[in-house]
């Protein structure tokens, strides 16, 4: 094995998508593939999602959306990009039939200013309280009017309306849903009609029927990453998709201690905080990480006998007795996504079915 491997279980990814599809029906699923599919690998995960009958992919930005489009996944596949900067190639995006999230009139004007051959496909975004992207309630009518005007002139097609919520509490999310519904009603009064209305990401779509509308944008749960705080993926019926493993390169036997050296470290994206916090599976035991460097960590073997070359599983689905990503996240005071996306792109990804 190279110094470390990220093993991605595509069957588990597809199982999670099918479970989510069953839960949210009759709404459909957008598979969120931003940030290299949460560190799992963009194109492989896109193909697996499509094989699981997903037809909407969430890309984040235009370069990612165009990489998906160029992968020839099928012209009928919808691809959504929503984080834009002035340098972006709107023209190619429009001509490649990328659906664009639009947060304000300036963004809309920049998109309409390019000389595309087809109408821009718009998803108008209302801010329902998260206060990141999206039009404020005051600016919403103006954005809707501008989009309707562009549609009437043949330069745009209004496809969707959307928002993103804070998942702060039941009650806050209820408020956000109400604001979303009010924004839709107002827009319809101004002549906009939406084929897809979408608000929820993983957690809300799983928990609340009233959050689902026509489409839900699922990232974390598709990768088998649960929201944390003690809730395990298994409790939700989800299967962890990512396994991180390596192999022992050295066993040091001191007078009091036996230590195994494993060739993964902070330079591979392993958080330094794993020391004296996290245990790895080795030789049938869960053993504590005792120190870390740029490209190594050590494990206290206690009385156990371990050979050079033996596999070390850092996290996975638990089937070899290892911790899950979820358990790592709880131990490190973060969420599974952060650990997964930080893993170095130089670590080899291996796909299993």
């Amino acid at each position: 094995m190279p110094h470390g491997e990220v093993v991605v279980d595509l069957a588990a990814f597809q199982t999670n998508l099918r479970l989510m599809q069953k839960i949210v029906a009759p709404a459909t699923i957008m598979a969120v593939l931003k940030s290299d599919a949460y560190g799992h690998g963009l194109l492989r995960l896109a193909r697996a999602a499509i094989d699981a009958h997903i037809t909407f992919l969430g890309a984040l930005d235009i370069p990612t959306a165009l990489a998906l489009r160029r992968a020839r996944l099928g012209d009928e596949i919808d691809i959504f990009a929503w984080l834009h900067t002035p340098g972006d190639d709107y023209r190619t995006a429009i001509d490649s039939r990328i659906d664009l999230g639009i947060s304000n009139v300036a963004e809309l004007n920049a998109i309409l200013a390019v000389n595309s051959t087809s109408p821009a496909r718009l998803h108008l975004k209302i801010d329902t309280g998260l206060h990141r992207n999206g039009a404020s309630e005051e600016d919403w009518p103006q954005l809707v009017r501008a989009a309707v005007h562009a549609q009437d002139g043949g330069r745009a097609r209004i496809v969707g309306v959307w928002t993103h919520i804070a998942e702060a509490s039941e009650q806050e999310d209820t408020h956000a849903i109400a604001r979303f519904e009010a924004a839709i009603a107002l827009a319809e009064g101004l002549g906009a009609h939406f084929t897809v209305r979408h608000l929820a990401a993983s957690a809300a779509s799983f928990a609340r029927a009233d959050s689902r509308f026509d489409l839900v944008r699922v990232g974390a749960f598709a990768y088998g990453i649960s929201p944390g705080g003690g809730v395990t993926p298994h409790q939700l019926g989800l299967h962890p998709v990512m396994t991180l493993r390596s192999a022992v390169t050295e066993v040091a036997v001191g007078s009091m201690t036996r230590t195994a050296l494993v060739p993964l470290g902070t330079g591979d994206g392993i958080p330094r905080e794993v020391v004296n916090t996290v245990r790895v599976a080795l030789g049938g035991e869960l053993l504590l990480i005792t120190d870390i460097g740029l490209d190594w960590f050590t494990v206290d073997l206690g009385d156990h006998d371990v050979a050079v070359g033996e596999t070390v599983v850092l996290f996975g689905d638990g089937s070899s007795g290892e911790l899950t990503l979820q358990a790592w996240a709880d131990a490190l005071g973060t969420i599974g996504e952060e650990i997964a996306v930080r893993l170095s792109p130089r670590l080899q990804r291996i796909y299993t079915f």
């Binding site: 190279p2 110094h3 931003k34 940030s35 290299d36 560190g39 963009l42 984040l60 930005d61 235009i62 370069p63 990612t64 990489a67 984080l83 834009h84 900067t85 002035p86 340098g87 972006d88 947060s103 304000n104 300036a106 801010d127 309280g129 998260l130 206060h131 990141r132 992207n133 404020s136 804070a166 998942e167 702060a168 806050e172 060739p263 470290g265 902070t266 330079g267 591979d268 994206g269 330094r272 460097g293 740029l294 490209d295 190594w296 005071g333 973060t334 969420i335 996504e337 952060e338 996306v341 930080r342 170095s344 792109p345 130089r346």
Partner: protein, 247 residues
């Protein structure tokens, strides 16, 4: 797929060379090992190796055979050694320790307090949106930030997928238009929100997480100490996750 319009890690190759030159006198220059593990601490293994050699390094310190292959295929002929917890060991199963080696890693990239060396990485992200919120309104997941009064906000395209730690939520600060601004609410995967108070900014403005302290930019050491971790952890992770640009 990374997007150089949203954010970048700007690498100063000349500064790596200058750091190497400044460190040469620490020992035998014929045994000066430039540590380029972890993709050159996030600066790019090939570019770092080339810059360090230009500054006087004579050996390259690597983690594994794959590193050696990458250096060779880029045409770098300097001999490589495996850095092994304080030692430089020659390649191969029976490789001997390079006695008297002068190994320089974090120092080469200005990641230590050594006054002779300068930082070599600058991380920035673009403002992708602005808005104004009223007192009491929340920001980002869980509404862990509530505006104490009416405030302007800037949405910046840097998140934990770029190595900006979630731990910096409501704690770290980022420089925008010359001023340090607090991260309001949770760091998300791809964005952070900065609290601007009464000041405003423009979409497209550049927010600097750390850069060149000589040009009044925040130092990577300040960012690192706000998180309680060594600067080398930050450089090696952010440099591997962000699009890199060289100058």
């Amino acid at each position: 797929m990374t997007n150089p319009f949203l954010h970048e890690a700007l690498i100063d190759e000349a500064a790596i060379s200058a750091n190497a030159a400044a460190l040469c006198s620490d020992g035998d220059a014929d045994l000066f090992v430039a540590d380029v593990r972890a993709d050159g601490y996030g600066h790019g293994i090939v570019e770092s190796a080339r810059a360090a050699i230009a500054g006087g390094a004579t050996w390259l310190g690597v983690s594994c055979d794959a590193d050696v292959a990458q250096l060779k295929s880029a045409g770098l002929g300097a001999p490589a050694v495996v850095i092994h917890r304080g030692h430089a060991k020659q390649l191969g199963a029976k490789g001997s320790v390079l006695a008297g080696a002068l190994i320089r890693g974090p120092e080469l990239y200005g990641l230590t307090a050594d006054a002779r060396v300068k930082p070599t990485m600058r991380v920035s992200g673009r403002v992708v949106g602005t808005k104004t919120i009223s007192a009491g309104e929340g920001v980002s997941y869980g509404y862990t930030y509530r505006a104490p009064r009416t405030t302007n906000l800037a949405l910046v395209a840097l998140g934990y997928a770029n190595g900006l730690d979630r731990f910096a939520s409501n704690r770290g600060s980022v420089q925008l238009d010359g001023k340090l601004r607090m991260i309001a609410g949770r760091v998300a995967m791809n964005v952070i929100v900065l609290e601007l108070g009464e000041d405003s900014t423009q979409t497209g403005a550049e927010a600097v997480l750390f850069g060149n302290p000589d040009s009044d930019e925040p130092a990577i050491s300040a960012w690192a100490s706000s998180l309680g971790k060594p600067a080398m952890d930050i450089a090696s992770v952010m440099g591997s996750l962000l699009p890199r640009r060289y100058r």
